[in-house]
């Protein structure tokens, strides 16, 4: 009996009137966990009942603690008939299972009903007492931390980045079970919500087990998705990156202990986790052959689960010795060799991270992606999800081989997605092939010497652009030049990646959001024929999306794409492609050439004139864009570069393939072959359309910037004002005479109008940048296109932005404020490697004491940050915002970014992963589809905020709306929507507050100040 869950129901408020006669409600509460149920007394005739219940205690396995949600049902007591349900609250108690996160969940939760929405609130207190369990074959993985953030979380340091973890579980969808025909929509929705909650808990537990096997203690970049396969079932799958994280300082140690009498107990299971420091001292024995067997009845995991990821690596002692400071070449080889060996043992050397500790990313090869079209069949046995597993394994294998072809041994910024229509499913995976520094992949101590030299040799700001593959044996026709930054290594002319822009990359000017949008009609077909049709279309779509991206990039005068995400969605009669990325001008890469237009019929005079007119327009646009995005690279004569510039060629950095259910793998080379680069041939109206569409993209109004990466290159001075939002649009296509052109235009207009609306709505925030703009497109019905956008608008200080000459000090300050942990982390690692050439020798002691002295970390760290940045004080002050006036509801910020501008994240409280269904049978009365969905999304936000506040947090970072499935039936006055959101609940402290504390009373306990108000009931 390893855990005791304690729940107290305090009070309710704003309950709905359940008894029309008295205009009151006789409410009571059922608290259910697993198969145990407790009830409170009935609080008669009150809309604001005070139950003040005793502590309900559940004695449960920690396995159940991980899987099961706590289910709280509020009901209206009825003496004569059945009690009416008012609504439910599901609470994921996972954050209470690891010691560094929340110690208590306490607060007001919205009472949610899938038919009526939020109906009042309930105040609940939840605690967990965990007992030590030394069972080696345990099924639980309590203590493993989960983060949605796709970088090393701000107050942690990565000791080892182990690598890829994945798992999936399948089940029958309750919506499609026979019983659904006789039960109410409410019962069906609740069954579904509960099942998905259970499945995600189980999935998380299993992933946790894998992490423990790998000797990690955390999963970073955790991405969990649902595939609603309809008749054939429900798949919940997750991927992530296993890491061993070390807390830089532990604010938990000085959190008010009053909340947690169980704290001592809770630390015990965590101690069981390998302590990274002690563990790293000795060479670990190769444990990788050891297979951990699970009790077969419960294990849904693949047979190969234990070999997915290596457990430890044989240390390469002495590898680095002897190869003293030489040119990059031998080092590269050495590095490759070393990394190779480190990664070879992994089945999939994939990383879901998009931002990395300094020095981790050595070279970037380019985007690798794979897609596969599958026919769904019923999952007969939920305990054996092999089919789905095999599908993904196949795709991952492809990705791996693509990466190899690019001379890379790893894939970073890796993600997976699906698009389902009826019984056809497109599985997609993509990532960025890369060469990594092995330091973080294994115990780093022995490599210290080599690393240091590598770092010395790698020029800052351009190293990752250098090609990882062999110049003479290139995987595709490419045009290489010498790096414009260091002049030593070769770089490609264009670089596409799925990762965030590395912090140290040298960028000229600002970046911008670049989208490629595409529709293709498809004949309606059944099963196999349908899948074949789709597979045949896919290569053409990929090709066109890629061409569009390339053209738009050129048009912007830029040479690299970051955060590239290509989504292909399948509908009954069409396929949609939407690619989003952030274009930038990398200083290391050559200046992009312009776009040349060539006509096919050179004899026609008027045609000629038209062409030249178009050409002029394009050239003007490029010039305008260069000015708009402040792209003025330093002039460079060709002699300096030395290498003769061959015929410029457009070529692709994408390698990808499609495969149909027959497992046929076709590799597609997207390079334009022998065609001259950047030449658009206008030989028919189609091409004409293409050129036109290129020019129709309107730049955002002045004062606005947009990107889909974490931060906007070229903007550093964020203020603390942020606004996260979700916008959804559905358009109905007129079914008459649908052509590809008309479709494309409709889709393009839809996206452009949506962006325009956003700019208009957020105009009061100017100057501002839309960051992490995330578009998803789906085709819910025949003639419907749905586009969902989630992003965050952040204002920045215009005055500072105008100072074009940014001193290095300012730059480092910026890094300190946004990625301050990384800045600190770096010297920390260096000193642990005991290197003489320490950049901040006097700070060393201080830093060490800061990390070890858990009493006052936040304040002390603030001091060190300021030391590192001479201009610190003034700027911090500038950024400070007036504190919000007293409000009864604490403000919870939400952002898709991993940080909060102008603030410091002091604590991660756990992962938020919520799934909601809302249904209505009175669509018109609720304001039509817009009213219905507007209210639902607002409710989802409210529930996320309430959970975060109850955990003691004041923000959600890395927030993502993973799914928003909307179905309507206006004739029946019905609609249904499913939403899945996730993120990391955190506590943040404003830098301005930190500063006050650090200057006035350095030992003050500042951390809980912001959280305290919300923790208490």
């Amino acid at each position: 009996m390893p855990g005791k869950l304690k729940v107290k129901i305090v009070a309710g408020r704003h309950l709905p009137v359940m008894d029309r006669a008295s205009d009151l409600t006789d409410a009571f509460v059922e608290v259910k966990f697993g198969n145990t149920t407790f009830k409170t007394d009935v609080c008669l005739k009150s809309l604001n009942p005070q139950w003040n219940s005793e502590w309900f205690k559940f004695e449960v396995d920690d396995e159940d603690l991980q899987d099961e949600p706590l289910q709280i049902t509020v009901l209206d007591h009825d003496t004569y008939s059945a009690n009416d349900a008012i609504g439910k609250v599901y609470i994921d108690i996972d954050p209470l299972l690891y010691s560094e996160a929340a110690t208590v969940i306490s607060g007001w939760f919205p009472i949610y009903d899938t038919i009526h929405g939020i109906r009042g609130e309930i105040n609940v207190v939840v605690k967990v007492d965990l007992f030590n369990d030394l069972n080696r074959f345990r099924q639980s993985s309590c203590g493993v931390k989960f983060f949605c953030t796709t970088s090393i979380p701000k107050c942690y340091r990565a000791v080892i980045i182990h690598g890829f973890v994945e798992e999936l579980v399948v089940n029958e969808d309750p919506e499609y079970q026979w019983i659904d025909r006789i039960r109410t929509p409410r019962a069906s929705n609740e069954a579904r919500q509960r099942l998905i909650s259970l499945m995600s808990g189980e999935l998380q537990r299993k992933i946790g087990l894998k992490v423990l096997e790998m000797r990690g203690n955390a999963v970073v970049g955790y991405l969990q998705c649902f595939d609603l396969e309809g008749e054939s079932g429900l798949v919940v799958r997750a991927i992530g990156t296993a890491c061993t994280l070390d807390k830089l300082s532990s604010p938990a140690a000085f959190l008010p202990a009053c909340n947690s009498p169980s704290k001592e107990m809770k630390e015990i299971p965590f101690n069981e986790d390998p302590n990274p420091n002690t563990h790293s001292s000795g060479p670990s024995t190769p444990l990788k052959n050891q297979t951990y067997s699970f009790s077969p009845s419960k294990s849904y995991s693949r047979q190969s689960s234990s070999s997915d990821t290596d457990l430890s690596l044989t240390p390469k002692t002495g590898m680095g010795s002897g190869s003293a400071g030489k040119e990059g070449g031998p080092f590269k080889a050495l590095l490759r060799q070393q990394t190779q060996s480190a990664l070879e043992q992994r089945e999939f050397p994939f990383f879901t991270l998009t931002a990395f500790p300094p020095g981790f990313l050595v070279h970037v090869g380019g985007v690798v992606s794979a897609r596969s079209v599958k026919l769904l069949d019923r999952i007969h046995n939920p305990d054996e999800p092999e089919t789905r597993d095999a599908w993904w394994a196949e795709i991952r294998q492809e990705i791996k081989s693509h990466a190899k072809a690019l001379g890379c041994h790893a894939v970073v910024g890796y993600s997976e997605s699906t698009s389902i229509c009826e019984e056809v499913c497109i599985l997609s995976a993509s990532g960025t092939a890369a060469v990594l520094n092995p330091r973080f992949l294994q115990d780093g101590t022995v490599e210290g010497c080599l690393e240091q030299r590598l770092e010395e040799n790698l020029p800052a700001g351009c190293g990752f652009c250098h090609i990882p593959y062999d110049e003479l044996n290139m995987p595709f026709p490419a045009h290489l030049t010498h790096c414009y930054n260091c002049r030593k290594q070769k770089v490609p002319d264009v670089l596409f990646t799925t990762i965030d822009l590395p912090v140290d990359a040298t960028v000229i000017g600002k970046g911008c959001l670049i989208q490629a949008r595409l529709c293709r009609l498809k004949k309606k077909a059944q099963a196999e024929a349908n899948a074949t049709a789709i597979s045949n279309l896919l290569p053409f779509m990929e090709y066109e999306v890629h061409t569009q991206l390339m053209n738009k990039l050129k048009l912007k005068g830029m040479n690299a794409l970051f955060g590239l995400r290509i989504q292909i969605s399948v509908g009954e009669n069409m396929l949609m492609g939407l690619a989003s990325a952030t274009g930038v001008y990398l200083a290391a890469l050559p200046t992009p050439g312009g776009i040349q237009i060539a006509g096919k019929t050179p004899n026609d005079g008027s045609y000629e004139q038209h062409i030249s007119h178009m050409q002029k327009k394009i050239n003007d646009t490029i010039a305008k864009n260069k000015e708009l995005y402040e792209i003025n690279p330093p002039e460079m004569s060709e002699e300096i570069i030395g290498s003769p510039i061959p015929e410029p060629r457009q070529r692709s950095r994408l390698l990808r393939s499609q495969s149909e259910s027959s497992d046929e793998v076709a590799e597609l080379d997207l390079s334009h072959g022998k065609k001259d680069a950047f030449v658009l041939e206008i030989d028919d109206t189609d091409a004409m359309e293409d050129v036109h569409s290129l020019l129709t993209d309107v730049p955002p109004p002045s004062g606005f910037y947009s990107c889909n990466t974490e931060i906007m290159p070229g903007i550093n001075n964020w203020t603390s004002e942020i606004q996260m939002f979700t916008s959804v649009r559905v358009i109905r296509l007129s079914s008459l005479n649908l052509t590809n052109q008309a479709l494309n235009k409709n889709f393009n207009d839809l996206c452009e109008n949506l962006l325009k609306s956003l700019y208009f709505k957020l105009r009061s925030m100017i100057p501002c940048c839309l960051c992490h703009v995330n578009f998803t497109v789906s085709l819910p019905e025949d003639e419907l296109i749905q586009v969902t956008v989630t992003a965050v608008a952040i204002t920045f200080d215009k005055n500072q932005a105008l100072q074009t000459a940014k001193t290095h000090a300012e730059k480092s300050l910026q890094r300190a404020s946004t990625d301050n942990e990384e800045l600190l982390q770096f010297p920390l690692e260096l000193c642990s490697d005991s290197l003489p050439s320490h950049p901040f020798p006097p700070a060393k002691e201080h830093l060490e004491s800061a990390s070890s002295n858990s009493g006052i970390p936040a304040a002390q760290r603030a001091v060190t940050v300021e030391k590192a940045s001479p201009v610190g004080e003034g700027n911090f002050r500038n950024r400070s915002s007036p504190p919000c006036a007293n409000s009864t509801v604490g403000v919870v910020k939400m952002t898709p970014l991993s940080f909060i501008p102008g603030a410091k994240i002091t604590k991660y409280l756990g992962i938020i992963n919520m799934f909601f269904i809302r249904e209505t049978t009175s669509l018109r009365e609720e304001g039509g589809v817009s009213g219905f969905l507007h209210a639902f999304i607002a409710e989802v936000f409210a529930m996320v905020r309430a959970h975060v506040a109850a955990l003691g947090g004041n923000a959600v970072v890395s927030y993502i709306m993973k799914q928003c499935v909307f179905m309507e039936n206006p004739n029946k006055n019905q609609a249904q929507c499913l939403i899945n959101v996730s993120g990391d609940a955190v506590v943040f402290v404003r830098e301005s507050e930190l500063e006050v504390v650090s200057t006035q009373q350095p030992t003050a306990n500042c951390q809980p100040a912001c959280a305290g108000g919300e923790v208490t009931t």
């Binding site: 919205p110 606004q723 817009s930």
Partner: protein
């Protein structure tokens, strides 16, 4: 291509003050869009009409969802669905409960019943305020009335506590509630020259001095109902005009004191008895509910109009009323000095406020 669904939801609820104003004023989405276009917003922002339409719809939807909460403002503060900064919450509430002068003059003193609600059409036509806005304002009056009636304690405090209004607005609502409760007639043609502010001023004075709350702060409706006992007692003042000697004495005292100080002395002297009779008879009649309702009509008829026809300057009216009230203290045969002060103190304030063109 038609837009089936188009929404924008922010973590912090976006409130556009201009659109809120249009919504409160009861404009339809298309009217609001037209008005916004006229304001030149398209030129300023480079947006298209479609964008404006979508934006307006979105805000209207938000306001519609917020309206339920605005009916009980403390709910807006405690709810979790819309994250709105406190300053914005205050703005939402204050603007929602704000009312139009033209509208309030139409319903002031009327029973806040279904019957009156039916007349809103006419009021809308007459004032040019949209019917929707009239309904909102009327419902606000009624809602506040329902909540605070039969409540203990200060009327203004109760309103402020339950509707979180600013002090000024809460005082205005207190006046509206007070007038509605006592059904003072304000709609007569004679009273048309008076503003809501004039009545609100009088209401405040009457609440302070003439209600139950003026003597006892522990009863229900203390600020809403006039002190019945006090009204009953007012009959005693009749002696001031019924007793000829007393009336003459009063007149001579006032005339002696004001001789040479008043520009309209001769008119005052000639009219003294009429004016005094008017003021005292108003007091004596207040035992009847109907006469209470006609209080303002009577005051205007019996005092303000005669003075105005003789072109009394406001300062002369003030000097006269001061002397008129004070002189009573020197009348030896008169025993109801305290009653007289409670009555006249308030009445003097009211009359001075009401005396204008």
């Amino acid at each position: 291509m038609t837009s089936e669904l188009d929404i924008f939801v922010g973590n912090t609820t976006l409130i556009d003050e201009d659109v809120y104003r249009l919504w409160l004023d009861g404009y339809s989405v298309s009217d609001a869009v037209a008005l916004r276009v006229r304001s030149g917003i398209l030129e300023q922002t480079g947006a298209t009409a479609a964008v404006l339409q979508s934006d307006t719809m979105d805000h209207y939807r938000t306001f519609h969802m917020l309206e339920r909460l605005l009916h009980a403002p403390p709910k807006l503060l405690h709810q979790l669905i819309f994250q709105i900064p406190p300053s914005r919450q205050a703005l939402l509430i204050e603007r929602y409960y704000a009312f139009d002068e033209a509208f309030v003059r139409e319903v002031l003193g009327k029973k806040l019943s279904k019957g009156t609600k039916k007349d809103l059409d006419d009021i809308s036509t007459k004032t040019g305020i949209t019917l929707k806005s009239c309904r909102r304002q009327f419902d606000n009056f009624k809602r506040v009335f329902k909540v605070v009636e039969e409540m203990r304690g200060s009327l203004v405090d109760n309103i402020q506590q339950h509707f979180l209004l600013s002090d000024r607005l809460a005082r205005d609502y207190a006046a509206i509630v007070f007038f509605a409760n006592n059904r003072f007639e304000t709609g007569k043609k004679k009273l048309q020259y008076l503003s809501f502010g004039d009545f609100a001023f009088c209401a405040e004075l009457m609440i302070q001095n003439w209600t139950l709350g003026a003597v006892d702060s522990q009863v229900d409706d203390m600020d809403m109902d006039l002190d019945k006992e006090f009204l009953q007692d007012l009959k005693e003042l009749k002696v001031l005009v019924a007793d000829k000697d007393l009336l003459d004495l009063h007149k001579s005292l006032v005339c002696t004191a004001l001789r040479g100080k008043l520009g309209v002395f001769s008119e005052m002297e000639a009219n003294f008895k009429n004016l005094s009779r008017g003021l005292v008879n108003v007091a004596a009649k207040l035992t009847h509910t109907k006469d209470v309702r006609d209080l303002f009509v009577d005051l205007v008829e019996k005092f303000i109009e005669p003075c105005r026809s003789d072109h009394w300057p406001l300062n002369d009216v003030r000097l006269f009323l001061n002397q008129y009230s004070a002189s009573v203290h020197s009348l030896d045969g008169f025993r109801h000095q305290a009653l007289w002060d409670r009555y006249m103190g308030t009445l003097r304030g009211c009359l001075l406020r009401l005396y204008h063109d």
